[in-house]
Amino acid sequence: MATFGFSILKDRQIDYDNNDHRLFRFIEEQEPSIRLCIGCGGCTAGCTAAGFTGFNYRKLNYLLMRGETEHLQKGIQQCMLCGKCKLVCPRGVNTRNMIFALKRAFKTPLWEELQKKINV
């Protein structure tokens, strides 16, 4: 990637080619509906956990799809699994199962590998 040497703002480009999509594919296999998200935010508007904290399901779903795994673990543990998000989602995204599958992913070697990569 070309760097132009501007220094006023920190470089905030995201290089999609470099992102690691393995986690996304792992979750997608178990819950294909996560691809259907249109980012409407309905889930987050009514979210029980979001009433207290910055937790945001829509954002996490997007981060996962983009292969940005850094903040997923901390985020997802705040969900209460109450299911409101699923009821309001206009696209039928099985949100709870995405969260559940992601939590299970934390127990896999793939997750450990991703963690190491982030901490480098």
């Binding site: 009514g46 207290f52 705040q78 209460m80 699994l81 109450c82 299911g83 099985n94 199962n97």
Partner: protein, 613 residues
């Protein structure tokens, strides 16, 4: 060594000793794995009347199969003739040999192969009746067997749409079981033919066979075949579904003594798994079939559990509706077994540091709506109206800040996370000094009752509103509406609350009958218990349930669970209302007078016509 010996008895004898030894060890291991507290219950129950009532149940269920009879008389007859008929054959066979030989310690195989050892039907004081009975029992079994064979090939006449799939050992056990009694019939008939003995069945057949067959030569191989069939059946039994025969008897005793399935895989849970006869009755009653699911159906789930093949998708694919348990003749705790397999799938380390520090409000009564009620604000509005009318001092605890009750985490196998939320809510509830907790959500109700240990009364709002109506604190507004009531799974099968919502509706409107009521009520499809079904599958369940509810053309569908309400609203052709909204009269906001509907339809028609032209 033995008085009555011939090599052909060996397969039977070996099989029999094998099965006794196997069951002895297996049951002992199970009892050890039951765990100490549960074993104490056994010690307490064993010398009480509970044991007697267990004996009675063993007779009614393991032999007569009364519950299967209720579901389907033909299927019941099939099971009964095999189990009870065989039992009678063994019992009377033993009694007969005792009466004849007067030797209490005659070997078991003497009774089983009595006809071989005493081919001329020896006379003793009631021998005529005795042999008549023995022939009748055999005929009784053979009639059931014929049904079983027909069932394998044509399931529909038994009222079951699906019969279960077979594995290797099941096939072996099934084949040998099917062959046992025809072989016995042949062996007895050939022997009768050769010795001109026998009775209405064996004797008649014997003389017919003797007319065109060399019965003297066929006799001996037939006894070998009979013994081999028995031996094969006994050896394959522990590894086939027929393990349910001995285990179910053990299970009945354990259950009567008050054992609990618990949250771990214990000896008791294992006994339940092994007690499943794979009768398949549950398949048609489980709506996973409606959703097109062919792996997670209760009977296949139990089979997978037995073979240790449960994966997370299988564990999570259950609505926890309880319809299977309602109909299962063995009364297996299928929901709880499924929950056991959900334990420890995730790290169970939810982080709720953000939970607010709240101050409880002093009140007599607390109303807890729960997350789902937040999505159906009409229920809270109706409750507020009714509470204002009644003059009760009620704190709407989670009106602003709502923290989940903990049940969804428990359903997902995250007990530790659940406890954090439960603790948070419990402090608020006890802090308020209330004597009564009311919730409009049956999902919350379950966890309040089972896990919170509050020491105060917990009611569903249908019960509370009925109480207020009875004490004339509120007067539900009369409504000339035909109402079809849907029993939510968690309220009905979960908490056995069927009558209160009905009485409440009846106090102001007209309740119509629906096809699946009370214990047999269908699931709305939205269940929090299932993490696996996709939206299309859920809609299949939803459509089936709506069809059943709207069959009698009601004006509205009433329910008493916010999740059911929200789920139905997606595609119900008529308004869906909570019982509180009916009692409060707020239903009027949702129902348009018929004339207005007509007007709307006219406009639509006009618009369509214009487009067409």
């Amino acid at each position: 060594m033995m008085k009555f010996y011939d090599p052909f008895i060996l397969p039977f004898v070996i099989g029999l000793y094998f099965i006794f030894a196997y069951l002895g060890i297996k049951f002992a291991v199970m009892l050890i794995r039951i765990g100490k507290p549960e074993r104490k219950k056994i010690a307490k129950g064993i010398f009480s009347v509970k044991t007697l009532s267990a004996v009675k149940e063993v007779f009614l269920e393991a032999l007569l199969h009364k519950r299967i009879f209720k579901v389907n008389p033909m299927l019941g007859y099939m099971h009964m003739s095999l189990a009870f008929g065989w039992f009678l054959l063994i019992l009377f066979g033993k009694i007969g040999t005792l009466s004849y030989s007067r030797d209490f310690f005659n070997p078991i195989h003497y009774a089983i192969f009595f006809k071989y050892f005493e081919p001329r039907d020896p006379a003793f004081f009631y021998s005529k009746t005795y042999f008549l009975l023995m022939d009748s029992f055999l005929l009784f079994i053979l009639s059931g067997l014929t049904l079983a064979i027909v069932k394998r090939f044509r399931t529909r006449i038994f009222g079951m749409k699906k019969t279960t799939r077979l594995r290797f050992f099941d096939r072996m056990a099934l084949t040998s079981l099917w062959l046992i009694f025809p072989f016995r019939l042949l062996a007895e008939s050939f022997t009768s033919g050769a010795f001109q003995s026998g009775h209405f069945l064996s004797g008649t057949l014997g003389s017919v066979f003797a007319g065109f067959l060399p019965v003297e030569n066929l006799m001996y191989p037939a006894w070998w075949a009979y013994s081999l069939a028995l031996g094969f059946f006994f050896v394959s039994l522990p590894f086939s579904r027929y393990m349910h025969i001995p285990t179910e008897m053990l299970l009945i005793f354990l259950r009567k003594w008050g054992l609990d399935t618990g949250t771990k895989m214990s000896g008791y849970a294992e006994a339940q798994v092994l007690s499943c006869s794979r009768c398949g009755i549950c398949i048609d009653n489980c709506q996973l079939k409606t959703a097109g699911e062919t792996q997670a159906n209760p009977v296949y789930f139990i089979q997978a559990l037995r073979n240790q093949q449960v994966n997370p998708a299988l564990a999570m694919n259950c609505l926890q509706c309880g319809r299977c348990e309602e109909i299962c003749p063995v009364k297996i705790d299928i929901r709880q077994l499924r929950l056991i397999t959900r334990q420890h799938l995730t790290p169970d380390q939810s982080d709720y540091h953000y939970l607010p520090v709240e101050q409880p409000v002093k009140a007599d009564v607390i109303f807890f709506g729960g997350c789902m009620t937040h999505l159906t604000p009409g229920i809270v509005a109706a409750m507020k109206k009714l509470v204002a009318e009644s003059g009760e001092k009620v704190w709407f605890m989670d009106e602003q800040e709502s923290v989940c009750c903990g049940r969804p985490q428990l359903l997902a196998g995250e007990a530790e996370s659940a406890m954090r939320l439960i603790e948070h809510n419990r402090q608020l509830i006890t802090g308020s000094g209330a004597k009564l907790l009311v919730t409009s959500c049956p999902i919350c109700l379950t966890v309040f009752v089972r896990e919170y240990n509050l020491g105060i009364e917990v009611l569903h709002h249908s019960q509370y509103l009925l109480r207020l109506t009875r004490s004339q604190k509120i007067r539900p507004k009369p409504a000339l509406l035909k109402i079809a009531y849907h029993d939510p799974c968690e309220l009905g099968r979960g908490n056995a609350i069927y009558e209160e919502p009905r009485q409440l509706i009846n106090s102001s409107a007209i309740l119509v009958k629906t096809k699946h009521e009370k214990q047999m009520s269908l699931c709305c499809g939205g269940s929090l218990g299932n993490l696996q079904l996709n939206a299309d599958q859920q809609n299949l369940i939803l459509d089936e349930t709506l069809q059943s509810l709207t069959a009698a053309n009601p004006d509205i569908i009433a329910t008493s669970c916010p999740l059911c309400k929200k789920t139905f609203q997606k595609s119900s052709p008529v308004p869906v209302l909570d019982i509180a909204e009916i009692a409060a009269g707020t239903w009027q906001h949702y129902i348009q007078p018929a004339s207005q509907n007509q007007e709307k339809a006219n406009i639509h028609e006009l618009a369509e016509n214009q487009l067409m032209n």
